[in-house]
Symmetry: C2
Subunit: 398 residues, 2 copies
């Protein structure tokens, strides 16, 4: 095969996807230290089992698939009506947001949707991406040849991790709130500024709300559509991964309001052509997340994770570190004073404490000097990880 | 939102995805004729329930997801080792094809994979697509701006539906065998010619084998890797959709041999960045397709469908029509003598017989004058559909 036919832009990517790199480092450590138990507070993966309401719904749907009369083949690419209606009832109606089931698209993951959505834009459109942020926004745009069209919106301690408006014109703006990795919720003022900018400049906001279930304060913005005018300028991504432990089950929601006109039709066309809908059993499981018992059980799981988050915040603060996040998000953003290379800190933490986290610079240049811990661990193991950190403070200095 | 930022190539697509158009026509007919039962031999969707071996494996895996000790979060983007090994054992080893689990990628559907794979190629590479064929190859390349770079490889009655080699140089060649829609299996000679062409010209073959489980003659080619040299020039797509009734479950296999070097690394990078793996429960279900009972049960289902295929072939031949396919494929390619517009024939068949099929021209220009019926229907309903056709022969004339 002649390599000249290959997409040249893959050559502009960092060598491997951040979390693959980290998984390899941990695997290598484990091989060198077979007796040591590594505690990972790194990749944002959940550890609690699926809630009983979901399990029950999935068993029932599996049995339907075993009978000719109730078997389901291809489902609608956009998702079954029962789930799209449940999403509207469970996610939008309680916040008084007017989104209809027609504006909801069910997929097998927010990662796929946020990565695929850029296909709807021209190759030369100008993209703004917060820094630091989930690396998929950047990587998917580099793959599409837009590296030179990307500007970054720094979110640092100086601006309270609320990114500034882009200087100069941009066409597409990614936002993530609660932010991965900083754990910051974007304020109503910040979001209003971005919506006003988008409306004025004919730009589109891609709003990633994968962690909104972790917001503890009802007064904070849970959906971009709570901001007036957002339906004219924003697409929203929501996920069952962190809400209901679906990381290994795969189900997510993308809202494309009718006000976006052609964009909604194009996304429908994209999905009908390149995607074949989500597993029926999974959609019944996702529906059950919004049942009466599903809501209660989901809240219990999230409460457990948020107790971890509080534990991590407190322990690190007691050790004299500055931390943010972890109050309305499952991520704690740890300022690693004195370290200029967060990958070196990753190695040190792994070697001295057998604890894994995620180097801040993996999320962008402004993430340097920080380290991300997640609250998704088992409570006892998280406590052990924090003890190990407390007992090794000296060797964690640069 | 400024529409100037939108991907201009979506404007070059046919207005809607073929099967969506047809679904709408059927829905409209049903609304006008609420008392009439429409029998669809149209979209290639299965009707038999999942086999017991798969159901059992999925219940078991669901229970694992309910317990903390056995819960699984994010799985490997490439698929679990247990499934990749089962695929090698079940699909490749019996044909003496040397493919290793490292070369296997599990996804949520062949439609996604065949649509996404073109992302690995440069925008200006030259593409060859059989005509007629599954429309996703063409549409996904149009979306990527390659409309002007596409040449078609006619497969007609004149060449026994074995497409000719491209005239002039091309970089990527899609092939589908057994072909959707013609039901033709590409011969060893045809495939050898294409592999030799690819090796000589540095081209890549994308081989869609989604229907290979329907090949009844062991001497016919089931995998492109049975052809010497194919590992240096071909990617292969396989699916559980038609093999094991997974259209509503979603699981597929793509093989990218190590011999393809950088291409395999790029696909891995694509999948780790833009995809998050397949549902664990589904992967356990797919593994069970290759269990001892799974193999027996799967064969029974396919036998039922193939009895339908024989029934359709015989009935149409008895009515004096020319048909091909349906011997090693679930598709019957019906020559609709006298009709120059297969969409008009679709309407006539629906109006007079309440039977739906797929207009041949939906699969390409060379599909005009043909009509696709599928063998996936319930046997009794398929018989009824054939009776209706037999009783309305006069009105089916142009």
């Amino acid at each position: 095969m002649n390599e000249k036919i290959l997409n040249p832009y893959y050559g502009e990517l960092p060598e491997s996807y951040l979390f693959s790199t980290i998984a390899k480092k941990i695997a290598a450590y484990k091989e060198r230290n077979p007796g040591t138990e590594v505690i990972s507070l790194g990749i944002g993966d959940v550890t609690s089992p699926l809630i009983p309401a979901v399990i029950e719904a999935m068993h029932k749907a599996t049995d339907e698939m075993a009978q000719k009369a109730t078997f389901r083949g291809y489902g609608p690419e956009q998702g079954y009506g029962f789930l799209r209606e449940a999403v509207v009832r469970g996610e939008y109606a309680p916040r008084k947001v007017d989104i209809s089931p027609d504006e909801i698209f069910i997929s097998d993951g927010s990662k796929c949707d946020v990565a695929n959505f850029q296909e709807l834009f021209s190759a030369d459109c100008r993209i703004a991406i917060p820094d630091p942020v989930y690396p998929v926004y950047l990587d998917s745009n580099i793959m599409a040849g837009r590296k030179k069209n990307i500007i970054f919106l720094p979110a640092t301690a100086e601006n309270d991790f609320q990114p500034e408006l882009p200087e100069g014109g941009v066409d597409v703006i990614y936002l993530c709130s609660p932010n991965n990795p900083t754990g910051t919720v974007l304020s109503k003022e910040t979001l209003t500024r971005f919506v006003e900018y988008a409306l004025k400049n004919g730009a589109l906001i891609l709003f990633d709300a994968a962690y909104s279930a972790y917001i503890r304060d009802a007064a904070l913005v849970h959906s971009i559509y709570e901001i007036p005018g957002a339906k004219e300028c924003a697409v929203e991504f929501r996920s069952f991964s962190k809400t209901a432990g679906f990381t290994g089950v795969r189900c997510a929601v993308t809202a494309v309001p009718k006000e976006l006109g052609k964009l909604r039709t194009m996304w429908l066309r994209r999905q009908t052509t390149k995607f074949n809908g989500v597993n029926y059993i999974v959609q019944r499981g996702a529906e059950a997340v919004y049942s009466e018992s599903g809501i209660v059980q989901t809240k219990q799981v999230i409460d457990t994770y948020m107790a971890n988050a509080a534990r991590i915040r407190t322990a690190l603060a007691e050790c004299g570190f500055t931390v943010c996040g972890g109050q309305h998000a499952p991520y704690i953003w740890w300022k690693i004073e004195g370290w200029n290379n967060s990958f070196e800190f990753f190695d040190r933490l792994l070697e001295t404490c057998a604890v894994a986290g995620t180097p801040g610079s993996g999320f962008g240049r402004c993430g340097e000097g920080f380290f991300r811990l997640t609250a998704f661990g088992d409570p006892e193991r998280t406590k052990t990880a924090l003890e190990r950190i407390r007992n090794n403070l000296k060797s964690l200095r640069c």
